[in-house]
Symmetry: C2
Amino acid sequence: MSQENLKSILKSHELRITDCRLDVMQFFLNEKGALSQGDLENQFTQYDRVTLYRTLNSFLDSGILHKIPNETGTATYGLCHDTCSPDHHEHNHIHFKCNSCGQIECLDEKVVPKVTVPTGYKIDGVNMIVDGICATCA
Amino acid sequence: MSQENLKSILKSHELRITDCRLDVMQFFLNEKGALSQGDLENQFTQYDRVTLYRTLNSFLDSGILHKIPNETGTATYGLCHDTCSPDHHEHNHIHFKCNSCGQIECLDEKVVPKVTVPTGYKIDGVNMIVDGICATCA
DNA sequence: TTATAAATGCAAGTGAGTTGCATAAACTAT
DNA sequence: ATAGTTTATGCAACTCACTTGCATTTATAA
Ligand SMILES: [Mn+2]
Ligand SMILES: [Mn+2]
Ligand SMILES: [Zn+2]
Ligand SMILES: [Zn+2]
């Protein structure tokens, strides 16, 4: 994606344009899988780990990224759809974690099925993590 | 549950009977929600945190507990069904996380719906976490 | 260009999770 | 019941991701 496109994405989310943010966003757009803080630290040694941490947080808050829960404890992040905003996140797709290569990816085209909860409960969101073997590792 | 019942559960999983394991198992049986290592540390100050940590792990390995992933990073654990064994875990129920009180619970009667993944992918397991407001907090 | 607000880097702290090892306790076999 | 064997426990110490404070630098607006 062009540098100008990247800048307009940041602007539309009311974020200042900085080298770190441009690089991190480009990285997310290039990678098909979800990324962790550690992935960013390995990729961008020129930036302080705290800066990368805060970059992830600002992207989370502004609706550019969403956090993907998993059992290992280290958070991973994936790009949000255009429909996401700081106020309203729409993440109704399935996440897949490969037990061989460890990669987590957003299956954007796979919609999370509707579910019901017991009487008196109210649903805000649903997160579905499927684990198994990805096509590359099969 | 009686002390004898608790002991037989441990024995059937080939675990030695210790005070810590009996207490922790009783705690899980009493609590309706899932518990974290921190919850155990608060409840049982007489046991070292490492002992509680290893108690959770031995219960995990032997199929007494299952780990419930969530976005906060701190792992929580819930009781397995009778059908679970060290070799084969069967956790096809939905987990609910209340955004008000923070409690995570197993909705044992709510079965995770079947899903499909792209061609070439293989499914090992599915984890579904619904978040919202529980009946108590509503 | 200057003023203001925000982002960055560095240092330092938190808290869960983990391991090694000596001691204590649970089980097994006399 | 006792002695021998195996396992669990407590303590110290470590890793690692995550988080905060503060001084400095940079981006943006006036
Ligand atoms: Mn996703
Ligand atoms: Mn459960
Ligand atoms: Zn893979
Ligand atoms: Zn609640």
